[in-house]
Symmetry: C2
Subunit: 210 residues, 2 copies
């Protein structure tokens, strides 16, 4: 398999964690987002959305959108399950992941921050927007996770929820969000960081890191 | 089951379509988004994210995030499948749905448009932002769908992809996006509109419609 990504992309980071947890290998190809390489003609042929990540499977299929790719990876090997077998538990895990992927991340990614800049907002205002979006989203997830057993977001093993949480907390730090208000989420992150799959997936450990 | 929604919420609209396609019944409870009823203490106890939809199951579980809810509904009855059984096909359908749920809808929903207004942008600028986000997203999806057999987004039956597409096209019209550039998506929408489940789910047919 070939993973098209970028060291700092949270969505690609999610895939790196999932590959590690499942014990799957992929060749990594980097596309420099700040230089706009994901909008090149060659890459747009692969993924018309012009986004990383994209996963080329061994059969030559090109899969896009990180959560769809992780659902696919979860079918390649039975264990460990990234999405629980029980439908209600699965819904809770997916909901947590989607609350990050739909409500937080899209509002603080490079594309939106660039749009805000182009609309005349200075760097401080743009960073403030990102901090507010992240803090609001994490506050709701702190309540959700606090109702669940730890140490991970949902019990004693990492799931798709943790896979989305850890990169989002990485972004939170990058924007200077005060994380002391989210002890339950921080505890889940600490449990994740003790695992090789999470440790090896951080942006600073990627070959394209700057 | 109880569906907490709002006639104009695209995410609740997705659930209404899914319920119809699966032949499932739910009691509908409306929360007026423009009046902020989804941020009431009582509703926040149900869903700390303060968003509709939420689905209360017969067992009393509260499920949130529309795509997670639809994955759950898809497990309640085997047919018709909203997400294909084949993992690659499933990934393609989920990716299409996520491209709407993560890349388009969050950037044009009421919350973001209100934030832009509060930052001093006038109504014309805010509507322009929404139109641009929607047009960019639909352009990529037009390419994706054009590579697939019709009449629906993925073949001869509606899936999660169509369930997300139809409300997004509804929003596109509300913001005045020129849809003539997306003939493949319009054809999928037309195929959907011929089905009772889609026809009965439109905002104007809901009891809380204004």
């Amino acid at each position: 398999m070939i993973l098209h990504g970028y060291f700092r992309s949270s969505a690609a980071w999610r895939i790196r964690i999932a590959l590690g947890l499942k014990g799957l290998e992929a060749q990594h190809v980097s596309h420099h987002l700040r230089k706009g390489e994901q909008r090149s003609d060659a890459y747009l042929k692969l993924n018309p959305q012009g986004l990383v990540p994209a996963l080329e499977t061994d059969d030559g299929a090109v899969l896009t959108q990180s959560l769809a790719i992780i659902e696919y990876l979860d079918t390649l090997k039975a264990e460990p399950r990234l999405i629980p077998a029980d439908p209600i538990e699965a819904a809770k895990v997916r909901s947590f992941a989607l609350a990050i992927a739909c409500e937080i991340h899209p509002l603080q990614n490079l594309r939106v921050l660039k749009k805000l800049g182009a609309m005349g907002h200075d760097e401080a205002a743009v960073q403030g927007w990102a901090r507010e979006v992240i803090a609001d989203g994490l506050a709701a997830l702190e309540i959700v996770a606090s109702a669940e057993k730890g140490p991970f977001c949902f019990g004693d093993a990492p799931t798709l929820a943790d896979i989305c949480l850890v990169p989002q907390l990485g972004n939170a730090r990058r924007f200077g969000v005060d994380l002391s208000a989210y002890p339950r989420l921080m505890a889940a992150e600490a449990a994740c960081q003790a695992l090789d799959a999470f440790a090896a997936a951080t942006p600073d450990r990627q070959p394209d890191a700057e």
